[in-house]
Amino acid sequence: MQSNSLTADPQPVSNNIRKRFVLSRLHSLAGIVPLGIFMVEHLLTNSTALFGSEKYNEQIHLIQSIPFLPLLEIFLVAIPLIFHAGYGIYLSMISKSNIQTYKYERNRLFFFQRVTGITTLVFIIYHVWSFRLAPVFYGTEINFDLVNSHLENVFIFSFYVIGVVGAVFHFTNGIRTGLITWGVTKGPASQRIAQKICLLFFAVFGVLGVASLFAFI
């Protein structure tokens, strides 16, 4: 029987039962704070290609001169990314999409968030291999020409366009749902405005990302 009396403090549930809650908040946080910020920085860095190969190479050189760079990459990008991806795959596996029946806007966004999560992961694995790990193993220099040699292939280029647009969608739509997860936008009106602002971010960063890709060929 449930107790019906007033108690000063609830019997705290063991930490194990809160695990899902803590993981879900860390998942949201990881997506926005290290990964989202890193992605914006990354898109801005790549956009220097719009101003020519020298500007781009200069910027790459500047980033490579950051002290303890591999440590920063591991702790601020790789670990949050692996956690975010792993828990995200688990979340999309336990959800059962019903967009065929319920064609509401936010239900579609819910579905695309899961689809772009997967496409982004595939894209990132390939992208990290081509431009971060392969150069380390084979000792090639990362510069404009390396990117150019990859993107000249029309299939790789198309894959990059899909990958970048998907990743930008995943991030900007994630801001919208993150605002709900953190209890910032509570009512439908504020959520609608947040959605519009995130759509604007999607357009800005999507165009910037794709324009940068074109700048490499």
């Binding site: 449930q2 019906n4 009396s5 007033l6 108690t7 403090d9 609830p10 019997q11 705290p12 549930v13 039962i17 809160r18 695990k19 899902r20 809650f21 803590v22 993981l23 879900s24 908040r25 979340l91 596996m93 336990i94 959800s95 059962k96 999409s97 019903n98 065929q100 029946t101 319920y102 509401y104 936010r106 239900n107 966004l109 819910f110 579905f111 749902t177 709900i180 997860t181 953190w182 209890g183 910032v184 936008t185 509570k186 009512g187 439908p188 959520q191």
Partner: protein
């Protein structure tokens, strides 16, 4: 007689809990202003399927016939809604009727909604006023707060929100939007507030709000227009704060 307008229905049937489902079609005479319940009553009166065979009449639940009891929820042409407030004239034919398969299907369109009542027990969906001594009258509630609480009080445990939610399914422990919205309802009551933290323990638990994926189908299908997603976002705020403070206090 043969020139009379008919209504074609396609019903997803199940004889027993452990038997396979099958579809059966019916053609019933049209009457003006029919709703899905009156169409099902017609089958009950004359249980003959479209092929002219006498069959077991279709089982379904209904009670109030005015969208306040929540018993007649079913999937009508795919979407979950109340059979009593769904007018036949506004539907595409054949009208497809399916049970809410998120719940255990007992027979034909009858489902077992027990999990929602269990959920109300888990969140302590009541205001504790009994004690060993008289506790006096409770604090006043402003009319604004009354208005807000009223919307949540209209929840009829119909199950539409759970059936439309992509995250309520057999693979997920999610308690569902109904129970979480009721948590907000009981927590906003000045006496209910005294046991707020006990309810928040459920909210931050395994079955709680972390399972919400913000698809917001719940608020779209709610027949009572309860602001479910607003309650969920408010609970997110409360749950985050409660989880953090209770952890820091350890």
């Amino acid at each position: 007689m043969s020139s009379e307008k008919v209504i074609r229905l396609k019903v997803k049937r199940k004889d027993q809990m452990d038997s396979e489902s099958y579809w059966e079609e019916f053609a019933i005479p049209y009457r003006p202003n029919m709703n899905v319940i009156s169409a099902l009553m017609e089958i009950q009166r004359n249980p003959i399927n479209a092929e002219g065979t006498q069959v077991r009449s279709v089982a379904w639940e209904y009670n109030c016939l005015e969208e306040v009891c929540g018993a007649c929820s079913m999937r009508i042409n795919g979407k979950v809604r109340q059979a009593c407030s769904t007018l036949v004239e506004k539907l595409e034919q054949p009208i497809q009727l399916e049970p809410m398969e998120t719940f255990p299907v007992e027979r034909d369109l009858v489902v077992d909604r027990q999990r929602m009542f269990d959920a109300l027990q888990k969140i302590k969906g009541w205001i504790p006023i009994d004690g060993t001594y008289a506790m006096g009258s409770g604090p006043l509630i402003s009319s604004g707060e009354q208005q807000e609480a009223y919307k949540f009080s209209t929840c009829m445990t119909c199950g539409c929100c759970l059936d439309a939610c992509p995250n309520v399914n057999s693979g997920s422990p999610f308690i569902g939007p109904q129970a979480l919205a009721q948590t907000k309802y009981f927590n906003m009551h000045p006496t209910g507030k005294l046991t707020k933290n006990e309810r928040l323990e459920v909210v931050i638990g395994d079955e709680g709000i972390s399972n919400c994926g913000n698809s917001q189908n719940c608020v779209e299908v709610c027949p009572k227009d309860i602001p479910l997603t607003t309650a969920l976002a408010e609970l997110n705020h409360e749950a985050n704060r409660y989880a953090l403070w209770s952890w820091l206090k350890k």
